[in-house]
């Protein structure tokens, strides 16, 4: 062991040894230091993947049935994937709140909600724009479209829940329970095209017998999917940092308000 390690108390079973893994990130300062390093890397990967994905997407030939509108798929499908992935991030954060009581779990869930809502909106909007020339309608109340609209309503409801309850510990637990209940909608979205008769096409990428899509369309789609996932992670890290700052400001404002209040004696008279 080096003398530097001995000075820092980093012996094998030293009680001074710092926390590791997710426990270490419970310290907001440590998490903010991680964000400072990780955010530029994740953003850089997202930009490179997006550039490659867009280049590949705009180089594909026209589809024999859909013509050039197949290019809408490269923004519609990744938006839908990320909208559902964001919800699964919130589900794991909700478990972090209820089971492990990790201090950053509620921060992670709360930061993911508006981003997930934005990707859900994108999925609905681009799907509707794609549906008009292909199906002849902007919207139908079928199982896939309706369950995906419900996802947007769940996101908006959760954001409203967080904003309406002042006490952070109570809002965190209530939102975590609501997130877990709302998670029932995710398999409904995924399997709605198998369980119900819908206008929407069945799954063509995530199938047991492999993707039913030509490689020329599949590869740019997967690259765009990765790019959108990286965009989500970059935005999520930045939004988590903002949420931590919001909580620090709130704590300082309360501290300032407490110190500004005149001290009172037991009989109620002011001593200051």
């Amino acid at each position: 062991m080096s003398s530097a390690e001995q000075t820092l108390g980093k012996t094998k079973n030293s009680p001074k040894q710092g926390p590791r893994g997710l426990t270490a990130l419970a310290n907001p300062s440590r998490f903010l230091a991680l964000v400072r390093v990780a955010l530029p890397i994740v953003t850089g990967i997202a930009v490179v993947l997006l550039a490659i994905g867009l280049y590949m997407g705009f180089s594909v030939p026209d589809d024999y049935q859909q013509g050039r509108t197949v290019r809408i798929m490269f923004v519609h499908v990744p938006s839908v994937w990320v909208a559902m992935m964001a919800y699964m991030v919130m589900v794991s954060a909700a478990l972090g709140v209820l089971v492990w009581r990790h201090p950053l779990a509620d921060v992670a869930a709360r930061a993911a909600a508006p981003i997930g809502a934005a990707f859900t909106f994108l999925g609905l909007a681009t799907g509707s724009i794609w549906g008009r020339p292909m199906w002849g309608t902007w919207w139908v109340w079928d199982a896939r479209l309706t369950s995906f609209l419900v996802l947007l309503l769940i996101y908006l409801g959760l954001i409203a829940l967080w904003r309406s309850i002042e006490e952070p510990a109570i809002s965190a637990r209530l939102a975590a329970v609501a997130i877990l209940v709302g998670a029932l909608n995710i398999p409904i979205i995924k399997f709605s095209v198998d369980w119900f008769t819908t206008l929407h096409q069945p799954a063509s990428v995530t199938r047991l017998d492999g993707p039913a899509m030509a490689d020329v369309f599949l590869h740019p789609l997967l690259i765009m999917g990765l790019a959108f996932a990286m965009i989500f992670f970059a935005l999520h890290l930045a939004a988590m940092r903002n949420e931590i700052l919001r909580r620090q400001i709130r704590t300082l404002q309360r501290k300032a308000a407490r110190s500004a209040r005149p001290q009172t004696t037991r009989s109620g008279g002011s001593v200051a």
């Binding site: 300062s29 705009f58 026209d62 013509g67 050039r68 509108t69 290019r71 809408i72 923004v75 519609h76 938006s79 508006p114 981003i115 934005a118 909106f121 994108l122 909007a125 681009t126 724009i129 794609w130 008009r132 020339p133 965009i231 935005l235 930045a238 939004a239 940092r241 903002n242 700052l245 919001r246 620090q248 400001i249 704590t251 300082l252 404002q253 501290k255 300032a256 110190s259």
Partner: protein, 67 residues
């Protein structure tokens, strides 16, 4: 442009990419503007002498070291 989006479905393809770009850009602007305003708020509070417990501990430790 018509080569990228086609002539027949130009409006549909272009508008789907436009709405995607707008929403993504809006999210980027949202996180950046929020970050800057919160950092400014935090700096204002700290300038007024209101500090977090961890910062106060750091200050106390550095004062102790100096003395």
């Amino acid at each position: 442009m018509t080569d990228l989006f086609g002539e027949r479905y130009f409006a549909f393809i272009a508008s789907s990419y436009a709405v995607t770009s707008l929403v993504l850009m809006a999210m980027v602007v949202w996180v950046l503007v929020t970050y800057r305003s919160r950092q400014a708020n935090l700096a204002k509070l700290e300038a007024a002498g209101v500090r977090r417990a961890s910062k106060e501990a750091e200050l106390r430790a550095s004062k102790k070291e100096r003395s």
